[in-house]
Symmetry: C2
Subunit: 303 residues, 2 copies
């Protein structure tokens, strides 16, 4: 595959193994599409899928997904802790290689139109694909959930971007959009005082005046007797991992506290780690084409 | 390709563009083989090729290379600054992915036998493939060069590992073997005093009592008014990049000198950079399968 897009669709079934397997089967044998991971949460009654593919593969895979989810999921009968508004609830596209954010925005609109036309489901474009500022934030779109949408959709400001202005009777509505890769990243501190982790989290996160693409919370890891700044890094190209870590290190110093270690939860793109290596080595005149695997990929895909 | 081996053959022609292009053409259209790079040095009268492939691709590519080099190169007429003993002078195999050093040793022996049988050229196994300690070092094997080998080959301790005990009249002899990836890596210092760079180089390199897989020299970069510790890191898995840099940092401190930056010359494997990132972040419980591109590769090749 020349271009690589990550797609992390969430669908509203996390309990019935038979249904889940059937829906996940939507991706079997689809060309230029790889199922990297999927995990179902019975409390949330929701399944998160990690796919990687090019446009062709995702076009076919996402169509199959809606087909099977619409067939099997009735939101009138769905209960779970996680807020939801659709059988397929949200479909984010993340640029990984040989496609940029703009390309993913365009692609998300194509998919949005396809979903609306094929399944008669109202589609809201969100994040980078949003057509108005209040639609950037998924939580704002989803407010009121499936049940509330029968009224919400009638409001002028909540007219869907594609599809009917009527909620699909069993499959609800869906949010589709492009967003940067999200890295779940934790920094562990050699203090058992959770207020220190909380203060550092407040200082470095966006809403507290900190780094733009950082969401952070302080937690106690009681079994280890330490604390943790737990984060979502929502744009590692603009707010890179090393800058976050060095800012936490500086803030921690104020309390006489040190960083013990860091954790990556789930997946991280290679580029985020290359950036870390480049920073700490202070590499001069370094091009990613000097990385053997990158060069090989470039040669094989003819860039 | 599931397994990836790097191969960096050197052949003894670096001046005649027509001949060089013809010989390089040996790799055109070979399945499972990618020509990453080649560079010819007229003073050395020698060409270095960087190939990447699996066993099948390299088997065919290396056979073609010998065919064309033997056809076009006559060492009796060859002059150049770089010592040489064969038309194809040396063929190192470097494990990159899904093959280890042992696998490359075995493969180098297969290729050695093929070259001896097909072209009637004496083959010496070197580096990790060497059959005796004095054959590990390429410089020791090559001593005396093409001209000297007509006598050297008669000595019992220089009997070839494969092929006749007679030098090929025009193509000489060849060294074939497995070795780890070699990273050319420089560390720049904010001092113009070259004796400091020289002293640091001496302290950290293997022959001076330093790190096992480091060769180092001190140089002045006169146009920048700084100095440099210039290195070959001959086994980055056992002597990783970050350990070398931190040792240089500590030694430099003694002279009140700081590291300005580092340079990678040529290619570096992704793993060497992942190791750097892991070290400086102090990553806990990190698996390379958490790197999106690595996971994708694993899924696509079915590991």
């Amino acid at each position: 595959m020349k271009e690589i897009i990550e797609c992390v669709p969430n669908f509203s079934e996390g309990r019935d193994k038979e249904k889940i397997d059937y829906i996940i089967g939507a991706f079997d044998g689809v060309k230029n599409l790889v199922l990297l991971d999927h995990s179902s949460d019975p409390d949330h009654n929701r399944t998160v899928v990690t796919l990687v593919g090019d446009r062709e593969g995702l076009r076919n895979g996402i169509k199959n997904l809606f087909e099977r989810a619409v067939e099997k999921i009735d939101l009138n009968k769905h209960k779970g802790e996680h807020p939801r508004m659709g059988a397929v609830d949200v479909v984010p596209f993340v640029p990984i290689r040989n496609i940029d954010e703009e390309g993913c925005v365009e692609f998300s609109k194509e998919i949005g139109k396809m979903v609306a036309d094929t399944f008669n489901i109202p589609v809201y474009l969100y994040e980078s694909s949003a057509t108005s500022p209040e639609r950037q934030n998924l939580a704002k779109i989803r407010k009121g959930q499936f049940e509330g949408f029968f009224e919400k959709i009638k409001q002028k400001e909540w007219k869907p971007d594609f599809g009917p202005t009527e909620v699909h009777k069993t499959a609800g509505v869906v949010a589709i959009g492009a967003r940067p890769f999200l890295i779940a990243f934790n920094v562990n501190l050699n203090t058992s005082d959770v207020t220190i982790a909380e203060r550092i989290a407040k200082a470095i996160r966006f809403i507290g005046g900190g780094l733009r693409y950082v969401k952070a919370m302080g937690f106690a890891l009681e079994d280890r007797g330490i604390t943790q700044v737990s984060m979502n890094l929502t744009n590692f190209e603009k707010t890179p991992v090393f800058r976050v870590v060095e800012l936490i290190r500086a803030e921690a110093r104020r309390y006489g506290v040190n960083i013990i270690g860091c954790e990556v939860v789930g997946l991280i793109p290679a580029k985020a780690l290359y950036d870390v290596a480049e920073f700490y080595l202070g590499l001069e005149n370094f091009s990613h084409s000097q990385i053997l695997e990158v060069r090989l990929e470039e040669k094989m895909t003819g860039d």
